[in-house]
């Protein structure tokens, strides 16, 4: 090794040392299986979606059991958020921001239901049930038909009516 490459390595070493100088380096390694257990993130391209599938027909019964008390029959609203309808209302004085009229990505439904719903017992639905409920909520918004089967490939391919309705304020 020539002198110049030795000093080059030394400089690189110095930079690396400086960069982590403020870190005592106490993070513990995490295994891939541990990460899979706690990673709930579903991206708009579908990455993060688990195996499984479900149809709107299957979702209808689940909706009646788990969702109707807060979101009303067919998601038209109850004591909590209205999920369906409101199409064409966004530019009016009474905009109704529902899944069908407002949400830009269908993948968000799966992500949110898996995280937070049903409100009183989050984490109790299987992936198949979440796909089915997602399909049902899209069905009542006339975005998919009742027999459409959603899975990790079909869900990110669903195009939402308001997909082009958003601009970014933050500019990277």
């Amino acid at each position: 090794m020539s002198m110049s490459s030795i000093s080059g390595s030394a400089i690189l070493l110095c930079i690396a040392t400086t960069a982590i100088a403020e870190s005592p380096g106490l993070g513990e390694p995490v295994s891939q299986s541990e990460i899979e257990q706690l990673d709930f993130v579903v991206m708009p391209d579908g990455s993060g979606l688990p195996a499984g599938s479900g149809t709107a027909m299957e979702g209808q019964a689940l909706f009646a059991t788990h969702c109707i008390a807060c979101h009303g029959e067919d998601g038209t609203g109850g004591i909590n958020d209205r999920l369906a309808g409101g199409h064409g209302s966004l530019a009016t004085d009474a905009p109704a921001k529902t899944v069908g009229s407002y949400w830009p990505y269908a993948t968000t439904l799966f992500d949110y239901i898996r995280r937070a719903m049903p409100y009183q017992s989050p984490g109790t639905l299987t992936p198949d049930e979440i796909y089915a409920l997602t399909a049902y909520v899209l069905f009542i918004n006339e975005i998919v038909d009742e027999n459409a089967e959603l899975d990790a490939e079909a869900l990110p391919a669903v195009r939402m009516p308001n997909a082009d309705g958003f601009t970014w304020d933050y500019q990277p």
Partner: protein, 419 residues
């Protein structure tokens, strides 16, 4: 030093006095105080016997028991989703007592055992890592005295008619604290963000596993993983044992009960950042990622419930803040915006923090509309109400920061008015 109204120089119409009264040592403190009366020596009842002993933790005076978080708005059918608001009208200074910090929860306050809680950083990193509280407290700590504001704060001001409520009930989704913790950049550097990593997705350990996407740029700039609030471990309602804190940005993104950070190549488009905290426009389009909180101010005293019982000199006090940096100037009007004068700013003018302002007002007992208007160091000016609505959907109530007015009536009571 004793002051009298004759000492004061008018600065604007309807009795607003020059702010220099607050720059003279002691003058502010003497406003409204009566000179001690001479007479025979005597003791108040509470000075005739030794007082109570010490205790393991303090509590406010029983005479201040009315100072409580107000306007609890619960989402129907839940016991833990909703908001409570800081009672701004009863507070002074710039630090919000932790017990009075506003709350906004999406599925209640989780009861987290810190020994079982970990923060996991994964995704586009070279070394996925986990950190528990014991590890994080060994990192070089930083402190930030900064505000946190929910982007729905003051949203009720988009109503057609002015809502009659206390200052805190209207504007109390803002608080300020000393947040202590570890720079997020240090933890991300330790994990080694890959070049493709541009965003991160943070989620909490609450039952909603509330999640938001954060640009890596902000995460590496001034974000911290906070462990302390006003010198003590975070309160459970504020994310115990650890939370994300992103200075100056809408509160929802400072994810509480921080559980995972996944480095990604783009935003996850979570429910909260798309369907909730996005800003609908008049033309039906909407803005995503409206992160910084705009420059804003509000008069906290006088305000509804704080009655002015006689004409004469009063202190107008309030708070101003900006997500872009320091407050440069606050102007006050006591004649409905016809004339303005500068308020005095308290000593601590910190970036992305509440700044306390004060003005002296010689009230003649007549009806008066009082307002404040803030400017920040970037030159941004708090908009008037009409300008704020330009281009906004009537259905949007996020990021409301327009100039706010109280009307002081001849009876000394303040009410909320639009100007």
């Amino acid at each position: 030093m004793k002051t009298s109204p004759d000492d004061f120089v008018p600065a604007a119409g309807n009795g607003l006095l020059d702010r220099r009264v607050f720059l003279r040592a002691g003058a502010a403190g003497s406003l409204g105080l009566l000179a001690a009366s001479a007479g025979a020596q005597e003791r108040p009842a509470w000075a005739k016997l030794p007082g109570e002993g010490m205790g393991p933790a303090g509590a406010p005076s029983k005479h201040e028991a009315h100072i409580r978080r107000g306007h609890l708005s619960l989402q129907t059918g839940t016991t833990g989703s909703g908001a409570s608001r800081t009672p701004l009208e009863f507070l002074d200074g710039i630090i919000t007592p932790s017990r009075l910090h506003f709350e906004r929860h999406h599925s209640g306050i989780p009861d987290i055992d810190p020994r079982l809680h970990k923060l996991v950083i994964h995704g586009l990193v070279r070394r996925p890592l986990e950190f528990d509280v014991d590890a994080l407290v060994r990192y070089p700590a930083v402190s930030r005295i900064q505000f946190l504001e929910c982007s729905g704060n003051s949203g009720v001001l988009t109503a057609a008619e002015p809502v009659q409520a206390s200052c805190g009930s209207i504007h109390g989704l803002v608080s300020a604290s000393e947040w202590g913790g570890v720079p997020l950049s240090v933890l991300l550097d330790e994990a080694g963000v890959e070049p493709r990593g541009k965003w991160l997705v943070a989620d909490g350990a609450d039952a909603a596993m509330m999640s938001r996407s954060v640009p890596l740029e902000k995460a590496m700039d001034d974000a911290i993983v906070a462990l302390y609030q006003n010198g003590e471990p975070l309160r459970p309602a504020n994310g115990y044992p650890m939370r994300l804190f992103l200075p100056g940005w809408e509160g929802n993104i400072s994810v509480k009960w921080l559980r995972t950070i996944k480095v990604t190549d783009g935003p996850a488009m979570t429910r909260d950042e798309t369907s909730k905290y996005s800003d609908l426009r008049e033309d039906g389009s909407a803005r995503l990622f409206t992160f910084p909180m705009g420059v804003k101010s509000v008069i906290t005293s006088p305000s509804p419930g704080l009655t002015m019982r006689q004409r004469g000199v009063y202190q107008i006090a309030g708070i101003a803040w900006s997500g872009a940096g320091r407050i440069a100037r606050v102007q006050i009007s006591v004649d409905g915006g016809n004339s303005w004068a500068d308020a005095a700013l308290d000593e601590h003018v910190l970036p992305k923090c509440l700044t306390r302002f004060r003005a002296a007002w010689n009230w003649d007992g007549g009806p008066s509309v009082i307002m404040s208007r803030a400017l920040d160091e970037t030159g941004a000016i708090q908009p008037d109400r009409g300008s704020w609505f330009d281009g906004q959907s009537r259905g949007n109530f996020y990021h409301y920061n327009a100039v706010h007015a109280w009307q002081v009536g001849a009876d000394g009571e303040s009410t909320h008015v639009y100007v």
